[in-house]
């Protein structure tokens, strides 16, 4: 039984918890608030009281369930193997079933479902974003701050919307001579609308390795923002849209450069669609051939080492939670980085500590998100590097905002961008 369908699906998970409190040692939220409700043990107890009828599903309870970045650090530190990520997702889905979705999120997730309208909105946004956002001069990133406070402060540094979306920059099929494989690229929203530079780097690197890239036009949001907030109905609709779009074009493998997208294709689609025989088969099929770009380049098609040019960068790597703990990928990006001539990798103190972005968490709990981010920024500063590499566009946003506000000269990029840079440098010689 999937966590998205019923709270009963997690009773065994709840019984595993022996309330030892080991989650307190690693929970980024608890470390800031030092309140029991912030940590897994507290919320597990709340779900137990809810199931026992001692607490009702109130808005207050739903608010407490929003106190989790789903970073999964507690899973890793749990002596009893409790999968708290499952518990929190089930609790949030139950909250939406009982109390409905917060009105702002409802509008947002509905918009995500209407792809064309959303595209139009983003296009309009890219023209008029200057009204709300104040552009900050910067050498590599197009970034800005809010001109006025809409409830999340004006400190956060955002990327500017791209003038042209990634998917409109490329044809649906990008051909190469003598392709050794056909790979479908799931871009995800952040790469499509904001960080098109990551998307271009993915295409560039794959082409460089003689791989034909397909970017299905019909793809949309991965649905993770909806599913982690309990909006199962929207998430399910998005999962089906994406499966249809990729099925239509077909490919030998699917790559993502975004940890949410990877989680969606590998795990979440199949869980959402477990009661839909037709789509469950498709979800399983695509799950078995979905790869994070770094995983793909290490395990599926080992990337070409000849032709790599020198890139003078001191790099520290931040592990995105949903790539590292979520998909078990932490060695691969480092292997890519260390094989690039000129790149020196310097590890930060806790590369796997959550950056505090966690999608809508950073909007619902802006202060907490920044407090968590400050630890990350301080760890980055201690490395005295010039570049932070990571594997997730949402982390990139948060990390950039952190270093920018701290006044640290540091570029924040996706690992794949440094690899693309190296191939480019190789051609100049």
């Amino acid at each position: 039984m999937s966590v998205y369908n019923s709270l009963d699906s997690i009773t065994d998970e709840l019984h595993k918890c022996m309330k030892c409190g080991n989650c307190m040692a690693v929970c980024p939220i608890y470390k800031e608030t030092r309140q029991e409700v912030g940590v897994a043990r507290g919320k597990i107890s709340l779900v137990e009281y809810l199931l026992a009828g001692e607490l009702d599903m109130t808005e207050g309870l739903a608010d407490r369930f929003s106190l989790c970045t789903t970073c999964m650090a507690c899973n890793t530190n749990c002596p009893c193997g409790v999968r708290f990520d499952k518990i929190i997702l089930a609790a949030r889905a139950e909250a939406v079933r009982k109390k409905g979705l917060h009105s702002v999120k409802k509008i947002a997730f509905t918009a995500l479902k209407m792809q064309r309208l959303f595209d139009l909105g983003m296009k309009t946004g890219s023209i008029f974003q200057g009204v709300a956002l104040k552009h900050l001069p910067h050498k590599s990133d197009r970034i800005a701050r809010m001109r006025f406070d809409v409830g999340i402060g004006t400190e956060k540094v955002f990327p500017m919307l791209a003038k042209k979306t990634l998917r409109s920059e490329f044809p649906e099929v990008i051909r190469v001579n003598n392709p050794k494989m056909r790979v479908a690229f799931f871009t995800g929203c952040m790469i499509n609308y904001f960080y098109t530079d990551i998307g271009r780097a993915v295409v560039e690197v794959l082409n460089e390795n003689d791989i034909e890239v397909v970017i299905p036009r019909g793809q949309g949001c991965c649905g993770i923002p909806a599913s982690v907030n309990g909006d199962v109905v929207s998430a399910r609709a998005l999962a089906k849209r994406n499966l249809r779009a990729f099925e239509k074009l077909g490919a030998d493998a699917l790559v993502v450069a975004c940890s949410s997208g990877g989680t969606a294709w590998k795990h979440v689609f199949a869980e959402l669609l477990e009661n839909d025989p037709e789509f469950k088969v498709l979800a399983d099929k695509w799950a078995s051939k979905s790869y994070d770009i770094s995983e793909f380049l290490i395990h599926k098609v080992p990337f070409k080492k000849e032709g790599l040019g020198r890139v003078e960068r001191k790099v520290t790597y931040h592990d995105p939670c949903h790539l590292n703990r979520g998909q078990g990928i932490s060695r691969e990006p480092r292997e890519i980085l260390t094989s690039i001539p000129g790149v020196e990798v310097i590890e930060m103190k806790e590369p796997g500590r959550c950056c505090g972005m966690a999608g809508s968490f950073s909007i619902v709990h802006p202060d907490l998100s920044v407090q968590i981010s400050d630890h990350k920024t301080a760890d980055i500063a201690l490395t005295h590097t010039d570049t932070v590499a990571t594997g997730c566009p949402a982390c990139r946003l948060q990390l950039k905002s952190g270093v920018e506000n701290a006044g640290i000269e540091e570029e924040v990029v996706h690992t794949i961008q440094i690899l693309a840079e190296s191939y480019r440098a190789g051609k100049k010689n």
Binding site: K19, G21, L55, G60, P79, G81
Partner: protein, 462 residues
């Protein structure tokens, strides 16, 4: 429910952000890490930022006769922080500063909300060590571990928390603040209240500052693992090591039930049919460690160990310890409810105690795995059960009673390191009779006549 004016006064002292009153928050302070305990919701949770604020809260509680339950991380195993009568939970977690590390006097002064590991992270940089290391070292607070007098793996050589507490600042039940002890090694001025408050489980006063003793960190260490096919031989080996004037930093034992579960869980290479495994670690100066390790190896062989392994490097050491560290997690995954006891006997009685536990398990048809600190006689009989199974839980309670009887009849004690709390209160007179309990009650009533500080723990009101 608290009267509105009580909440108003608390907010006035602490600020609204440090006073929790909503159901959804209060319910998360209704329990602690103790298995199979009834939970109780407090009426309010407050987080003071200073000793003065603690004193004010205690005075308000005194005026309105409201019970106060001090709480650190809530990791204790005796029900010690459960607010059985509602009232105020006093969360000490925001008092989390390491005030001073004094290298000349070898002391550290900390607030009670400091996590034990955080103190050690700080003093390790200076080549120093705060030795008490309960299993919850990365989560438990200094205040909590002083109040519970926690032990850990290094008890045999380094002692337990009470051996490292030199001074305290306490808020008494009437709100008075006093300091006792200090940085001097010698201090016989008046009664030893530092010793009294250490392990008092927050029933006599509220600790708001602690001066601890630090020691120079040992230069190096070496681990040895020994397998036994017979419990008595393992017991003799423990005694023999001590008789030969070697005091290892740690001397741990795991019984067959633990070995089987652990081996299944981590595949550390333990023989499944072994009756007992001993894990020994010696530490100190390099020359001493080398010499002692060889001696320990010889003793273990002489006492009939079927296999002795010395870790040659850190990796091998980690592998040996993986099995021991995995004991509780492995056992905990086997059944939903893990009842972990800490009955303690003189170390010469370890084999007798292990056999008694095995008999009790058979009699009540329960799965009891035992591991623990053999060197200091502190065993952890761990009952693996399921809270939802009423019949089995009845047998669990009977077994627990008998385990305590066995420990006391062997000259041991109810609790080596977890404390009495609610969980073991009813057994107190088994150990020191009605008169002993009455003496405890007199001390409690002298310091807290109205039973406002962590009431319902250690001694019940008559």
């Amino acid at each position: 429910m608290l009267a509105r004016e009580v909440l108003q006064e608390l907010v006035q002292v602490l600020g609204a952000e440090n006073v929790l009153t909503e159901q959804e928050d209060l319910m998360t302070y209704a329990y602690d890490a103790t298995a199979a305990m009834k939970h109780h919701k407090p009426d309010v949770v407050v987080s003071p930022l200073s000793t003065e604020q603690v004193s004010e809260v205690v005075k308000i509680a005194g005026r309105y006769q409201i019970p106060i339950y001090p709480r650190g991380s809530g990791t204790n195993l005796s029900g010690g922080t459960i607010p059985t009568k509602g009232g105020i939970v006093l969360s000490m977690l925001n008092l989390n500063k390491i005030i001073e590390v004094d290298q000349d006097n070898l002391t550290a002064t900390v607030q009670p909300g400091v996590i034990i590991q955080a103190l050690n992270d700080q003093v390790t940089k200076l080549g120093l060590l705060y030795p008490p290391d309960p299993g919850t070292v990365t989560t438990a607070t200094m205040g909590g571990s002083v109040s519970e007098c926690s032990g850990g793996l290094r008890g045999l050589k380094y002692g337990v928390t009470k051996h490292y507490i030199m001074g305290i600042k306490v808020v008494l039940a009437n709100g008075e603040v006093l300091r006792w002890g200090g940085k001097t090694v010698k201090n016989v001025t008046g009664y030893d209240l530092v010793a009294l408050f250490t392990g008092a489980e927050g029933t006599l006063g509220i600790i708001t500052e602690i001066i601890v003793k630090l020691i120079p960190a040992p230069e190096t260490r070496k681990s040895i693992l020994a397998v036994f096919d017979n419990l008595d031989k393992a017991g003799n080996a423990i005694a023999s090591i001590i008789r030969n004037k070697i005091i290892p930093a740690t001397l741990e034992i795991m019984d067959n039930a633990t070995i089987q579960t652990v081996e299944h869980f981590v595949h550390a290479g333990l023989p499944m049919d072994a009756e007992a495994v001993l894990l020994v670690e010696v530490d100190g100066y390099r020359e001493v460690v080398e010499r002692e390790a060889v001696l320990v190896e010889q003793i273990l062989q002489t006492e009939g160990s079927v296999e002795v392994k010395i870790a040659k490097n850190d990796q091998e050491r980690d592998l040996l310890w993986l099995a021991r560290r995995s004991a509780l997690p492995a056992l905990a995954q086997k059944r939903p409810t893990t009842v972990l006891e800490d009955a303690t006997v003189p170390r010469s009685k370890i084999p007798d105690m292990l056999k008694a536990i095995r008999k009790i398990a058979e009699k009540h048809r329960l799965l009891i795995a035992t591991f623990g600190h053999a060197g200091d006689g502190n065993l952890h009989p761990t009952i693996l059960t399921d809270q939802r199974d009423e019949d089995e839980m009845k047998r669990v309670h009977l077994a627990v009673d008998e385990i305590f009887q066995a420990a006391i009849s062997l000259g041991g004690t109810l609790s080596g390191e977890h404390g009495i709390g609610i969980a073991k209160m009813k057994y107190l007179d088994w150990e020191f009779g009605e008169a002993g309990v009455a003496a405890l009650r007199q001390i409690k009533e002298a310091l807290d006549p109205n039973y406002l500080l962590n009431p319902g723990k250690i001694v019940r009101r008559d």
